[in-house]
Symmetry: C2
Subunit: 739 residues, 2 copies
């Protein structure tokens, strides 16, 4: 889809394509030509909307109303070529013909996977519906003999939180990572075939981030060779685990291990919760759902649960013993498996979270960008059409940096996959050298990308004006379902403090000759990056002229164009991160007690951690022009947003920041013609987007109007309650009314 008339192709991807005839064939065809008909048929068969309206000689499309002339057909064809190219090159989901594409089609066509009525369902109906979807998806996975990865993608397109997320994403990996060979052989086949359903019971009512503070106990009873799992206090109730409330038959439960009256830290235990016969909770177990959560639909499809144990006994071999064993006599024995292995799992989970952030963000940006081209407001000259809101700089200034972030997160997500592979290979070879850096890196990126995405979804909602507030825009539910990512798997502030701690350690070791590795490698150049390029201490002669220079020009030769050079931007971001880290380290060193200093300066440390993480996301490789523009927008927007950091550390001057801002504005103009192509390249189906405002065909208003009438309030013309509560008021009978 392009919203640009032919005359405006100059400077857009369309003119690029036109000029690159070796690689692209542009079709300027009439409606009745063969290629048009074939392609249109394909589009229609796939059930996509057509921007141009209907083509009468194709079945099934005729009901669509015509609202733009046939001449626009070439745009559609171009869209197809462009988006297929984009998919292929960027690796976005859903390229036609793959098993993934089949899954997408399944979702779209089967009534079982309907999403649009979700916000209107009661909690019970909603939940039952989710159980139904999970069963349908599983049946399909079995029928198609999907691989684990393919099955994961199919569940992704179901697009609804469900107990299966925890079964596959936490229960199975916990057993794989922490169970012995024997335990894996016993439990994994049951889990793989869904003969048992598991969840991950760690968080408690009174304890979240601080795992070492968990209160649930697992006391070894040598007489019976069993552990006694118990909830000693109200605050020790397990609270939040997904899938626990109504579905799971088993759980990996984290509890304080006690043998012989001594505590041995927190460990995982496999505990059966419900009967496999009638699903009733087993004796000593109290379990239920913890109640409604943010939004309608959203995470209310998940049975986050509460769980209490009253001296529940399990066999000794149900403690996950890969790292530490409890013997028949109740002795704790460390195995020779390195504890660091669990960090590998953490890297994996956080890598998927970054990848999910990029999906959620690109989805919101896709909706907001498309609607911004449909929506018009103000600026009409003598009764003509109003201006598309995407043409306003204030809109571009909010929207395009989010578009840039969606791409940036996508690339950093891909890179994290590589990092995880690298870490895994090293761990297998007993090389733990990169682990602390990889751990800090994933922790920081988890925090950075989830916070940015949550804020961005809400910003996209606001960018859609009033209509973004309607459930049918898809954005309210996307927001509500996404925001917990900022809290689960590590609260974002707690994670940034971990990153800050790692950075302070790295800085303190700079003098020792220990080379910083990976994403902190730039710190090896700290000395150079700390040199203020305008430092007057280096200037031998002073004059008014020179002083002016000093005050206005750090990287003295810089012009507006210099802000487009990746090397310049990168260096400025590196300088900022290094300077902030070093300054914080200096402040810390003034405290007699380092821990006290860390606590006192924690808010500043978080800022240094953010500066470092923003640098990691910074794309470094050579990229094509449009992506380079996005990359520059990503960097220059952050530079503007955190201008205080850059100025206070002397990395740039006010004059330079003003040049950078000019450059940013001009980049917006360059991205504008390609905005739709860039979001179309995400290749989301209308079903997956689930947004009337973000429809591929741009046919927003008629659809909004149509959707409105589906609300239950419109079932009757006169609403329920009129006779009891409205009529008595109007008829002045409220004094006598029995309300």
């Amino acid at each position: 889809m392009t919203d640009l008339p032919r005359g405006n192709w100059t400077g857009s991807y369309l003119s690029d394509l036109a000029s690159d005839s070796d690689h692209f064939k542009l079709h300027f065809l009439r409606g009745e030509e063969d290629l048009v008909i074939q392609t249109a048929k394909k589009i229609a068969a796939a059930g996509h909307g057509l921007r141009l309206g209907h083509i009468p000689w194709i079945n099934g499309v005729s009901k669509m109303k015509m609202h733009c002339p046939y001449q626009r057909l070439p745009d559609i064809l171009l869209y197809i070529e462009e988006s297929v190219c984009a998919c292929a090159s960027l690796g976005f989901v859903g390229t036609a013909g793959s098993t993934i594409a089949e899954s997408i089609e399944l979702m779209r066509k089967s009534d079982a996977f309907r999403k649009d009525n979700r916000v209107m369902l009661s909690r019970k109906e909603l939940f039952k519906n989710t159980l139904r979807k999970a069963a349908h998806a599983w049946k399909r996975i079995i029928e198609l003999r999907l691989s684990e990865e393919e099955a994961r993608k199919l569940r992704f397109f179901v697009d609804e939180p469900a107990f299966t997320d925890l079964h596959w994403g936490m229960f199975v990996p916990a057993i794989k990572g922490q169970g012995t060979e024997e335990q894996q052989q016993k439990w994994l086949p049951l889990a793989y075939k869904i003969q048992i359903i598991g969840c991950y019971a760690q968080t408690e009512l009174g304890h979240g981030s601080n795992v070492q503070g968990l209160e649930t106990t697992a006391t070894f009873d040598p007489e019976t060779d069993e552990f006694v799992i118990h909830s000693p206090t109200l605050t020790s109730s397990k609270w939040w685990p997904g899938g626990l409330g109504k579905v799971s038959t088993h759980a990996v439960v984290y509890a304080r291990l006690i043998t012989d009256g001594q505590e041995h830290g927190v460990h995982g235990f496999i505990v059966q919760l419900r009967s496999l016969d009638d699903h009733m909770p087993l004796p000593g177990i109290t379990v239920g759902d913890i109640g409604m959560k943010f939004g309608s639909g959203a995470y209310n499809t998940m049975d986050n649960g509460v769980l209490r144990f009253d001296h529940v006994r399990i066999p000794r071999n149900q403690m996950l013993m890969r790292v530490m064993q409890v013997t028949r006599e109740g002795k704790c024995v460390q195995s020779n498996v390195p504890r660091q292995l669990i960090y590998g799992t953490m890297v994996y989970v956080r890598q998927t979270i970054v990848s999910d952030a990029s999906s959620a963000l690109s989805r919101a940006v896709c909706i907001a960008t498309r609607y911004s081209t449909v929506r018009r407001q103000f600026g009409s000259q003598e009764g003509g059409v109003e201006t598309q809101v995407i043409d306003y700089k204030t809109q571009q200034n909010r929207l395009f940096p989010l578009l840039a972030s969606a791409y940036a997160f996508r690339f950093v997500g891909e890179w994290l996959k590589w990092l995880y592979m690298d870490v895994t290979q090293r761990l297998q070879a007993n090389d733990f050298s990169t682990l602390p850096e990889a751990h800090a890196c994933t922790a920081g990126l988890k925090s950075l990308t989830t916070s940015a995405t949550a804020d961005a979804i809400e910003e996209c909602r606001k960018l859609c004006g009033g209509h973004g507030y309607l459930s049918s825009s898809g954005l309210p539910e996307l927001f509500a379902v996404y925001v917990p990512a900022c809290t689960y798997e590590g609260d974002n502030v707690v994670l940034l403090l971990q990153v800050a701690r790692f950075l302070m350690k790295t800085v303190s070791q700079l003098g020792s000759g220990k080379k910083p590795v990976g994403t902190t490698a730039y710190m090896a150049r700290a000395e150079d990056l700390l040199q203020c390029h305008c430092s007057f201490k280096r200037v031998p002669i002073l004059s008014f002229f020179l002083l002016d220079l000093l005050l206005h020009c750090c990287y003295c030769t810089m012009s507006t164009e210099d802000w487009l050079k990746p090397s310049v931007l990168l260096e400025v971001f590196e300088a900022r991160a290094v300077r902030m880290c070093v300054a914080r380290a200096q402040s810390l060193s003034k405290f007699p007690n380092p821990e006290e200093g860390f606590a006192e300066l924690s808010a500043d440390l978080v800022e240094a951690a953010i500066a470092h993480c923003q640098l990691i996301v910074f794309p470094r490789k050579g990229v094509k022009q449009q992506l380079q523009n996005l990359c520059n927008i990503y960097a220059l927007n952050l530079l503007h947003k955190h201008l205080g950091d850059f100025l206070s550390t002397g990395c740039i001057t006010p004059k330079q920041s003003s040049l950078a801002n000019d450059q940013l504005r001009s980049l917006y103009s360059q991205v504008r013609p390609n905005a739709i192509a860039l979001v179309d390249a995400f290749n989301y189906t209308d079903h997956y987007l689930g947004s009337v405002l973000g429809r591929y065909d741009g046919n927003v208003y008629p659809k909004l109007y149509e959707e409105a009438w589906k609300d239950p309030l419109n079932d009757s013309i006169v609403p329920d309650g009129y006779h009891e509560y409205v009529r008595p008021l109007l008829k002045q009978q409220h004094r006598n009314a029995r309300l």
Copy 2:
């Protein structure tokens, strides 16, 4: 409620009170003493929780469980004195004994005003419930013969968007403001007695902010002396008006006036929509609800509606003709009533929005602050209790600036009431001189306070960790119900652009001798504020020493303590606003076409407008120490957040910003002991707060646990859908299952 043990009173309001024995009497009493018993009885009778647990000799309290020793009684008594003082001095809602207090009690005790089940109801049940509440409230208003203001407060405590908001808040004021005397005499009595119910139909499916772009037409037919109201296109459908969907019998409809084939701008018309007999829509009228909106509960209690007219005829005298009349012959005649009067209404509406922002923000802050003292995480030494999360600097750094803003918005809201009165008096005296400034000021404050509040509610939710995501925390619904304030009554970005336009005009007139008035008065000192105090052009002799000074010290004598002086902070904020405005004006002057320049630089102009508006909120009068601390936190936090502005305009140096940051940290420590008292002073009842996390008695965990079991999913132990969708999976019968 205080969460501080006696030994820690030093430096808190408690020690202030203790030392000020002339004004405060501190009660250190034993449980059986008379004053204690009487007060405790009062608390119990009012149904409040007791932090200390139960007092066995008072009825109705015995069921509460004891969880802290009797010695804490004095804290409660202190609370009562403190909060009553606070209420009285700050004018917060709900001082005991007032009719408002009665309304609050009514809400709390009557089942009709129950709120806690709202998120679980279906749309239809929810809406019927709202109709019921509105009827109950009206009955009560009649019974108690409440004044208009008292009735407004009662509706405020119902705490649920309803059609009555639009009837009283928009329909009635529109007739008052735009109707002739005659029209007012005819329609207002009907509206006051609710013999008709009205709404305000302005926004259309395709048109929001740009009122002049509305498409609905009102064509005068001289033959019948009627207007023909018509919706010529789909996008002209009225869309969003609250109360329109299912309830209103009448609407003020905005439409393009056409007489004799000529257009005469957009005007308001009173149109009857539904029969007063059977509530059916009248001929030619299509009306319904526009569907579900953000969140569960929240704004879904409101019947925002869609409305289409098919040549609906109304008598000529139903056009609101105070400013312009259409004669029997179809001629348009301007009345001698100044058009500016409508701006007065706008000032009024926006003033109430600022006031509502302060309520919503203080509510969220109250919940987050209380829960931050209850929640503990990390930091336990050898198995002792963990640290209260409010004691972490990262938590304070996010929470206390919001607390400061809640107070700041409260004060600026009070000031706006004065401004509105002042404007009204001037308008009555035909003095329009302050109107542009007042208009810009309220537009800017509406934008600033609603954006800040929406973000702050979500931040408070995150500050409550995982539990903030539960509906029972009250924060998800508060967020969902609040956010539309950023869009309605003027999109926040559009409003800031209006402010920017006004500021640019003010700057351009600085040389002309025209004095800027009101909130822009500081611009008269532009010349002084533009002088960089460290400008080297003023320095006669250069030396290394002086240069160092120049680079590190603008207000050269400034120390950390200087950042606490209101005059210093104010000047820095004024300098920043002036410098940003002047810089933008200079950039604008470089464009040959000013409108083009305005469009190109709009994002920068918005920032200048924000700088100006933040300055308006800045409290200026002498305030008591704790409030002065909040005032400084408000300013210093903004200074840190917008550091780039201050540095790039040369208002402060990096060194100074670092001193300001040190000061901010130390202010947090001073506010910490008073945090609970400061939020208790808002004096919200538990019923109004509607949050398990924000309970006055701090009894969070048992209540969370209790609430969980009320979820419909817990009606049965085995969930609906188990037999159809879960059991077949577990029993490996999915291949044959009929899903």
